[in-house]
Symmetry: C2
Subunit: 352 residues, 2 copies
DNA sequence: GTGAAAGCGCTAACAC
DNA sequence: GTGTTAGCGCTTTCAC
């Protein structure tokens, strides 16, 4: 396994063939599970492999086969729990198909998002799962080539590729309806958009929130729509203390993600407001931690596992087809996970 | 860019060469920035490239060059914030060297940890950064080959490769000393090991905790060493409520990671104990969120960035050397980040 | 300055 | 059943 110098011996098919006294093609057949071989030959080949410590050279195999069994996942930031958990799912699903995942973290940087696309074209990987944040539709059109691609979200719907869509509007609506049916009459949204209008998660979730209020004939109070720069717990806490300071009253909070919700709950407690007795809280994302907090958090599960599964499977299908699939919306099922932060019951049919 | 069928045209160096009326070697030279070329040739080649939309085939290049500019990172679970943030750092550092990262999530499964090692030997990547949890020293010895390898932690010190070591003992000692010097006289450890003895983070951190108490001549109360199965906030909360129920008194808590600390703080608040006025809390990991909570969390920063940097750079060095580096301990600097959960001042020299 | 040619290590036809 | 062979697309001597 090591040569006289102690350096790595580069054992090739050729070496194994020579040692086993067969041809290189036979060894290759053996490696690939070709069935029509004599038991004797199989054994000699295996012996040679063991003795020499041969391992197939993946790069050569890739070149020859034209695929790498590797796919790229491009996300904004692993530090955001949502994306980390999404990446975890993608890696797991990919593994089921014997695929590896190159994770590219673009850091909310359009240039880096483009970069991961460039890399793709170099055919180091078989396909790209792209979760774009900053890329404009203009950049989008630069996504040339027809390598397998799946876009997460609808922010770049100009691109001609399958899009996997979280139903932000309906899910947010369901979350809000749930609060109403649990008895809340004055519901704030934390992390929302004061002036919705684009396709960001922020805007869409606000849209769902408003739709729910309207459906129940409840007034939409602009002061209860709290936009925050970040979506972390500090921002959530801040939104609450601001509202309290402004003398606003509310009995329910829909937080646009779970981190915000944690901050919301923490700050409410801090100010002596009991959750859920006085104020009920619902989050969005269903990150792992949301089940462990006190109170545990009612939240929207956006269907991460399904997103990962659909994305990977679409890529593989495209690989098989030999080209990119056409533009299409693939909508993922969401669900409302009811926990202690809101004792009510889920609202069925928010989608209708 | 697309052929008559609309399928991907597979543009090769050959095609570019033909279109530009030069040899394939010249195009290759151009692609690699070879300086001695006539301006005229350069231009013709560039035109052909633009026109045909040529992109180099990375796989072929890899085979020829013998490297992939890809490295593997094998960690237990991206769902754990610590690992997600570590992965993020590794990806960033790798990018600085124009390297991509294949993230393998082993899910606390020894078989998968071995698997990522197998993959490595297939030379799909230039090196492996392995954060082992379950792999025994016995498995370790199976890590044949001398491909570039860096092991994170000391749990597998039998392996002949560089190990990057977080100074668990000293860091935990520093955290505990900090609590003492801040006035705490009765300090609990949450997530510790009732019966330390191996090289797990749990045991080492407990060791540091005990060492600090001894140094200050404080008694070690076994009832204040709370072992928890998981290291999440629920476990932290549980440990606190258990201790309270048992009638134990304490004025400081060293939590073995930040998630535990969050649970600890949350439960203390829940029970009407004020942090830090009545009980001070220190965590471990310095995850992003620890700065956003209320109160913000005093915690040990294990030096993730440096870990990532040292790991990637060691891999690259090994790649250049053409073989694995010998066994060595590379110790990373830690620091105590002081925040609101403990108003004291950091203790200098806990290491001595 | 540019071209020709020899592989990198493998797979998959196709012989026999 | 097994051997032979033609490349996959590229880099890199080495001529000229």
């Amino acid at each position: 396994m090591t040569d006289a110098n102690g350096a790595a011996a580069r054992v090739t098919l050729h070496d194994v063939a020579k040692a086993a006294g067969v041809s290189i093609g036979t060894v290759s057949n053996y490696m690939n599970g070709y069935p029509y071989m004599s038991a004797a030959t199989k054994e000699r080949v295996q012996d040679a492999i063991d003795q020499l410590g041969y391992v197939v050279n993946g790069t050569a195999r890739n070149l020859r086969r034209g695929v790498t069994r590797l796919l790229s996942l491009s996300i904004p930031d692993l530090t955001q729990v949502y994306f980390a958990e999404l990446a975890e799912e993608v890696i797991q699903v990919a593994r089921e198909y014997d695929y590896g995942v190159i994770v590219e973290s673009t850091g909310y940087d359009a240039a880096r998002e483009m970069h991961s696309i460039q890399i793709m074209s170099q055919r180091m990987t078989d396909g790209l799962i792209l979760s774009p944040l900053k890329l404009s539709d203009g950049d989008a059109r630069k996504i040339k080539g027809d390598f397998p691609l799946v876009v997460l979200g609808e922010s770049m719907f100009g691109v001609d590729a399958p899009h996997i869509i979280v139903q932000n509007i309906y899910a947010a609506k369901a979350a809000t309806c749930h609060l109403v049916s649990a008895g809340c009459r004055s519901i704030a949204i934390v992390g929302g958009a004061v002036d919705p209008g684009n396709v960001s998660a922020r805007s869409l979730r606000t849209e769902g929130y408003v739709a729910a209020l309207r459906e129940y004939g409840l007034p939409v109070d602009q002061r209860l729509i709290r936009e925050t720069g970040d979506w972390n717990s500090r921002a959530g806490a801040r939104a609450i203390s601001d509202m309290m300071q402004e003398g606003l009253r509310f009995d329910g909070v829909f937080a646009c993600n779970d981190m915000l919700a944690f901050g919301v709950i923490s700050q409410l407690k801090e100010m002596g407001v009991s959750v859920p007795a006085q104020v009920q809280v619902v989050g969005f994302d269903n990150i792992d931690e949301s089940q462990y907090t006190t109170p545990s958090l009612t939240t929207i599960d956006p269907g991460r596992r399904q997103i990962a599964k659909l994305a990977v499977e679409s890529i593989l299908e495209q690989v098989n087809q030999g080209r990119r699939a056409p533009k299409q919306r693939i909508e993922v099922e969401y669900s409302l996970v009811c926990r202690q932060s809101s004792p009510g019951f889920p609202v069925i049919g928010a989608k209708g």
